[in-house]
């Protein structure tokens, strides 16, 4: 997936989970669970949204790679096919 497509997908999924959050306030290096107050259910829903939108499987062991937007972008660029 292109970086733009990854960011768009992540933004849409996060928008469903944290609809009241301000746009543009999440920096690439921030742990989004802290920044957006995501609990484990929210984070799992985020993973599910990414999985469904990209078709890429995401093993539990990889969850820490997705805690920041930077990590998300790099994870899906790596898996692009």
């Amino acid at each position: 997936m292109t970086e733009a497509a990854i960011r768009k997908l992540a933004a849409e999924v996060l928008g469903d989970i944290a609809p009241e959050a301000e746009p543009g306030t999440l920096s690439d290096d921030e742990d989004m669970r802290e920044a957006l107050d995501l609990d484990s259910m929210d984070f799992l829903n985020f993973v599910i949204g990414l999985h469904k939108g990209s078709g890429v499987d995401i093993p539990e062991a990889d969850y820490p790679k997705l805690f920041t937007m930077k990590g998300v972008v790099s994870y899906f660029s790596r898996d692009s096919g």
Binding site: L9, K52, G53, S54, G55
Partner: protein, 335 residues
Amino acid sequence: MNKAATKDATLTLTYREACRQAIREALISDPRSFVMGEDVGLYGGCYAVTKGLLEEFGPSRIRDTPLSESAFVGAGIGAAMAGLRPIVEIMTCNFSLLALDQIVNNAASIPHMSGGQFAVPLVIRMATGAGRQLAAQHSHSLEGWYGHIPGIKVLAPGTVEDARHMLKPALADPNPVLIFEHIVLYNAEGELDPAVESVDISKAKIRRPGRDVSLITYGNSLPKALAAAEDLAQDGIEAEVVDLRVLRPLDNATIFESVSRTRRCVIVDEGWKSGSISAEIAARLAEEAFFELDAPIRRICSREVPVPYAAHMEEAALPQVPAIVEAARSLVRPQ
């Protein structure tokens, strides 16, 4: 993938060659198997699939039959019931109509009617489809019709990998299995991963993941759907392409999961629309995935006319890439 040694590198070969290698593998590994059909021996097969096999395996393994589908399909059924593993080739599905009684009333029904006393481990391969200007009587796509009959399995390999590897599990199945090879696909080239030694014949496969619309298809409509997905991607529409691979039993799970995600669906089926496999899929979606749909279901099928002979008219009658693109776009961007 290790490309260093030639042995481990992916092979590029035609769909036709893949079919031939599948038959060779069966003949080499199972002495009970043999091929029978019109022109399979001396002529090497109407579509050259069995070319060279008579020389390699001899006349008792590659048997030319008289021009009588009902007779040789019946003989194949009998051979299977007696414990052999025949690979019956019906030149094209158009001629299978002459063996319909054998296939439906005998092959599909004997295991049931005999209370399981007789298995019919028969494989029938047929060429199918249009696109070579063979005109009305020689251009049918009847695999959808066969999908209506309980007691048989219907496979539609759309890729070189499936053409190569579907035959083995089909032969291993104790029930009759029909394999439909599209005439236009015979020349198509594809890659074989040497690590793959068998395939599942119960599931559909997502050939291209996407988010906005599911293009559900099989056979020679698969490359058209993939091309349509490429076109749509240029426009920012991500189409998911689902290769059915098996028309009976249909892989409901994959179909429903895809459409539940994308919420829009275009079914591409070279058969005529009425009473087709596309109609069956649309009905199942309406039954099981109704609340997931965000747009009506669209079907791109052949025009409801006997397939024309003239090249430009045949092209107009069959499903083509622009129509698939247009249907998908109309669902994703209605305005």
